[in-house]
């Protein structure tokens, strides 16, 4: 069994995919805002502020002349922060007023213009001290006032640097995102492979009952390896417990059956009589129950798979039918058999025992003139062994309990039997990797009961060789 068929269905892949999607969305969101900034909206705002200033200067010059402009500029530089600079130059490019020490040389462009770096000859006189500053990019405007000109400068370094850092970071993000996506993809494949290998081991243990199998541990750094280690320890514990139980039950077999048979042999020594016969019968029943129980436990321990051979199942079924034929005839029951040749790997004695138990059951509950039908056929990839009868049947509500040890259906409590027959059949079916099904009225008569042993068709090595 593979736990995760497609690795895209694993949780690690989904987490990775979700993370990648969310990060992509986040980056797109950020890029959107940067693209807004890239549309020069902020620069345009700065330009608008600059043209407002230009308007003020022009209006002042028009109304009150150059003297007013000069004094206004001198007043302004006292209040201005260090993002806006202004210079009034006379016709010979000498600084009349303002905080620009060395006016820049202007490229032949329309104003306002954004000049980008480096502007080495743009010297700024700080209002407070006399420090010189350089800027990598400024917004610059020139207002011609007769022979004079006013240079308006606005520092837009901040606006651009934000964009540049943002863009650089954006690419870093994109690369990181790609790496994360690739990594989570890789981790998902790795994790899925590991989990599938673990689940394969687990289902193998389930199928074969081989508790000695262990998960492979190729590293020990991740949680899965730790889980595998814990799992292996659990298996070890279970294996040793099962061994202990087996040991104990072997001992019980050895220790209890012997006194039981001693008891029986002492009973045999009693003088002949009705009581002796009854006591011997009781002892035999007790021993039979004990033997059946041990036998079932033995089959369930699945050790007997070691002795599996190729079995011509149709021969086993035919033998059972032949063996029961005289008994069936004596009771005036019609026995029909539909048998197809089928080969499986298994234990012929156990299969024979199982079928004989089913026949015993059908005979026990089948009254005269009943029909019993035995079927062996392959249906798709499964082998069907069915024993159907037209006896008085069983209520379907009891079907779930039928495989339980010592369970006896309501109607059969008075008839002989110990309630272990079907448990044995169930154990035999499961040691052959099969299941047990019960069918109500399989022969479509007035009533009836059917048992189907459904075995998987397993390719076996011996025939392939």
């Amino acid at each position: 069994m593979i736990a995760i068929g497609a690795f895209t269905r694993s949780s690690s892949f989904r987490v990775g995919a979700l993370f990648t999607t969310l990060s992509s969305a986040g980056i797109l969101f950020v890029f959107y805002f940067w693209s807004l900034a890239d549309d020069d909206k902020l620069i345009n705002e700065a330009k608008a502020a600059l043209s407002a200033e230009r308007f003020v200067v022009e209006e002042l010059y028009r109304q009150q002349g150059i003297i007013a402009v000069t004094s206004a500029i001198q007043n302004r530089i006292l209040q201005q922060g260090n993002n806006t600079f202004i210079a009034l130059l006379d016709g010979k490019n000498n600084l009349v007023a303002g905080n620009l020490i060395v006016p820049p040389t202007f490229p032949d462009k329309t104003f306002p213009v954004v000049l980008s770096l480096p502007l080495k000859n743009l010297m700024v006189k700080e209002s407070s001290g006399g420090d010189r500053q350089t800027f990598s990019s400024v917004l610059l405007d020139r207002v011609i006032l007769g022979t004079h000109q006013v240079i308006l400068v606005r520092n837009v370094d901040d606006l651009y640097s934000t964009q540049k850092i943002g863009r650089a970071l954006g690419w870093v993000f994109v690369v990181m995102l790609a790496m994360i996506a690739a990594l989570s993809f890789g981790v998902a494949i790795y994790v899925v492979n590991r989990i599938n290998r673990m689940s394969r081991t687990a289902s193998d243990i389930m199928d074969t009952g081989d508790l000695s199998a262990r998960m492979e541990i190729d590293s020990s750094w991740d949680d899965l390896s730790k889980l595998a280690i814990v799992f292996n320890k659990t298996l070890e514990k279970i294996e040793s417990s099962v061994k202990n139980i087996k040991q104990v039950s072997d001992n019980i077999a050895h220790d209890l059956r012997t006194p039981l048979s001693r008891l029986r042999s002492k009973l045999e020594k009693l003088p002949e009589g009705e009581l002796r016969g009854q006591a011997l019968n009781e002892a035999d029943n007790l021993l039979a129950i004990f033997n059946s129980l041990l036998r079932i436990a033995d089959v369930e321990s699945e050790r007997q798979r070691a002795g599996f051979i190729e079995v011509a199942l149709h021969h086993v079924v035919t033998d059972v039918v032949d063996l029961y034929d005289p008994l069936v005839e004596d009771r005036e029951i019609t026995l029909t058999a539909h048998i197809e040749p089928v080969y499986i790997e298994g234990d012929p004695h156990l299969l024979f025992q199982a079928l004989s138990n089913l026949m015993d059951n059908s005979l026990k509950y089948a009254v005269g003139h009943c029909r019993i039908e035995v079927v062996l056929k392959t249906v798709g990839a499964r082998i069907i062994i069915g024993v159907y009868d037209s006896g008085h049947g069983l209520p379907t509500s009891e079907f779930n309990d039928l495989g339980r040890r010592f369970y006896r259906a309501e109607q059969s409590r008075t008839s002989p039997g110990n309630g272990l027959g079907l448990s044995m059949v169930k154990a035999v079916a499961s040691i052959h990797y099969g299941q047990l099904w019960f069918i109500d009225n399989p022969l479509c008569e007035e009533s009836g009961f059917g048992v189907v042993i459904s075995l998987p068709y397993r390719e076996h090595k011996k025939r392939a060789l």
Binding site: P259, E268, L294, D298, L327, Q353, S356, D360
Partner: protein, 226 residues
């Protein structure tokens, strides 16, 4: 018959000893594998009854060494284990028969006597007979007196099995194992039905019945009165 019992459970050993003695056989007992093996190698026995779970040396190992030294000595394995693979392993490693504990003493006796009887070279026999009943193994024909009896395949095998052990008890489980080749316990009186069919054909129309039911054990074919 001189039998050696190798069994660590003294009560079981006593039980077997008493049973064999009452049937007129001579018994020796050893309680561990090593001394059992030594004893079996040193002395001459007609039969070894060998437990599998033994101290010192387990039954399989004893059997293995015994087989190389004395290949013709009949060995009956006893085990508290009911696993079929144990049975198969035991029979493969050369045991002549296998019995699961607990067993009825009659079952053990029947098997023990059957085994020692087989020491005669029966393989050459082409005809088995008791009284006026003859079974021809080559032509696969059964006659009683002058009349031929038609038997089905299984009935023929049943009769053959009884005749091979003529005069001795054959238990129901021995019949199941030897005629049907399956190790299993039937919950119904299957064998009895088959025997009664056989009786219908072999005994019914004749005055002297040959097949006799031994109460609680099995069947025996013999000339009545012997």
């Amino acid at each position: 018959m001189k039998a050696l019992i190798v069994e660590d459970d003294l009560t079981v050993a006593e039980h077997i000893q008493a049973g064999l003695a009452s049937a007129g056989h001579q018994c020796f007992h050893q309680s561990d594998g090593q001394s059992g093996l030594n004893c079996a190698l040193d002395e001459t026995f007609d039969l070894v009854i060998l437990d599998i779970m033994l101290p010192a040396l387990d039954g399989f190992s004893v059997l293995e060494q015994l087989r190389t030294a004395k290949p013709a000595l009949p060995v009956l394995l006893l085990s508290a284990k009911s696993q079929v693979d144990d049975k198969v392993r035991g029979l493969r490693s050369g045991a002549n028969d296998y019995l699961t504990k607990p067993f009825a003493i009659e079952e053990l006796l029947a098997r023990a006597e059957g085994m020692t009887g087989r020491a005669t070279p029966e393989a050459k026999e082409t005809e088995l007979s008791v009284g006026d009943l003859t079974l021809d193994l080559l032509r696969r024909k059964v006659t009683r007196g002058d009349s031929e009896i038609n038997l089905q395949a299984k009935e023929f095998q049943l009769l053959e099995c009884l005749l091979r052990n003529r005069g001795k008890v054959v238990t129901r489980s021995m019949l199941l194992e030897r005629v049907w080749n399956y190790h299993f316990d039937p919950q119904t009186n299957l064998i009895d039905v088959h025997i009664s069919r056989l009786r219908q054909k072999v005994d019914k129309t004749f005055n002297i019945p040959l097949i006799e039911t031994v109460r609680g054990t099995g069947y025996r074919i013999s000339e009545t009165g012997i």
